[in-house]
Amino acid sequence: MRYPKAGFVFLALTILMAVGALGAHGPGQSDELAIQLSDGSVTFEVSTNVFSTTVRGQSNAVTGGTRLRDNGSGLQLQQLEAVVTVGSLKTGIKLRDEHMRKYIFETPDGQAPDVRFSADTTECPKNGAGYACSAAGNLAIRGTSRPFTIELKVARNGEAFHVTGDGKVTLSTYGIERPSQFGVRTEDEVKIHLDVKARGVATSTARLR
């Protein structure tokens, strides 16, 4: 039996260590990290033609995620996605929820597909202690996708993230008529506020859901 020479063994070990070191980056370096939304809510608020009334709703069932890369000066978010099931949106009045589902989210064939936001790539530069950016993508409501931008603020603590965001949806761009009930009619513009927590997922093949 032949044994390798000591010099060859040393070279092999050196190469292995170098390769290992390349894979040992900590947070804040350029490795890609799969991020999954873990907890949070999305709220919407719309004014009406009556001065003293707004309609506000909330869902605590936001799912989604992104692939994140930290390039030192900011975060790069790839394949950003957030999904809200229509049934989880509540306004405080059950009947109003039914009307909302029927007049806003239901397709002609009676389906109510999830509300889905997706953006391919978003650069989030550092802003003070956190990060801030405009995430431009598409928002799908009752299966119709339209361009949508949400202003995001991201706070990071290792692999834990707190993300807040604000945007505005214009119902008419989706061909949705402003809901009206006995003379009280909502405005066309709906304010959206996102407040979610997210965390890194151990495996790079983690599903973004």
């Binding site: 001065f51 009334t53 306004t91 059950k94």
Partner: protein, 383 residues
Amino acid sequence: MMRRLALILALALCEAVTVVRPVWSLPTMIRLGYSDCVTCHYAPQGGGPLNEYGKGIDEAQSLRGGEYRPRDSKLVRTLSWDGRIAQDLRLVLPMRWTWAAHEPSDASFLPRLQYRNYTRLPRGFAAHVTITGESDAVRRPDLSYDPPTTSSSAFVNIALLHYRVSRSIEIAGGRDQLPTGVNVPDPRLFIKSRDRVGYYDTPTQLKVYWASKRHRVTPFIYGPGGNEKDGEAESGGGAVAEFDVLSNHRAVIGASALRGHATNGDRRMLGLHARLGYGPWGILFQHDITSRERDDVPDSFRQQASYAQVFWAPREWLVISGIGERLSVHDPFEERLSAGALDVTARLTSYATIGAAARLQRDVIKDEWSKSFMFQVALKTVY
């Protein structure tokens, strides 16, 4: 269904520990983004018939739930003058048991029937009337510095002529309660102590409602209502102003001021109030400071009244409230009262609401306690 029935039964059985408050005003609706009465009532100050949207909310927020569908028949069209007249009959059946220290227990049943009418007239005008028939006086506790209120078997609570100047301005003149802060109508509340004749305090007045997305201002002037005792007829003016702090109709703060003059003594009042709503729960708060003068005492004296209510709606049709109150009157009419109450209101249908409350009150100076239990059923017509 069985759970609902069990809950209704439990509420009914809780009669002994529940009490009622008048049900014609719901400032607790701020929890759902209704920061003012005008969304659901024709009259900006509330208290009158519900508009069509209000009827829809009334039905949707009841145990029965469902969609309000206006009836359309020849009779309804005739009664409503083709939709111009909104009117209803309300029957309120309050039962109260009171136990006060050193006094025999007392039970009272004071049913009252109300007719409420809001008639839209041409060119932006409207007439608003509420008439109450009572079996006995609905009065506040006697105050040593004001004459006692007198019983009335029939009483005109509201007789106003409204004129809508624009979408944001409305003028009303006639007879009504003066605009107040949190607008809770229970006549026994300490904050009602500022009124000269309590429940029957409906002076002749002219008021302007000016509202925008974030503010409401209601200046008013007033004169005697005609039911005051000699020397107590008061004239004056004031205003209530409110601001929507977060611009979402869920955090309203306000201030009110009033100055009145009467032969037997003047009064000046400053008040702060807040209405806050956070989905299923919220807070109502009011604090009034009134400086009073009486001809029979040399100096003015101060009256301070506070009201705080924390409410929670575990169901759309069920509201549970914890209420705290304080009343402090300085020399020579020194008085210090504090009270707490637990209040439950359940809207079974748009026709029927039941309520119950338990109240504990302490006279701090005399160190005497009294307790009361109340149960109320309110029925009204809806078409």
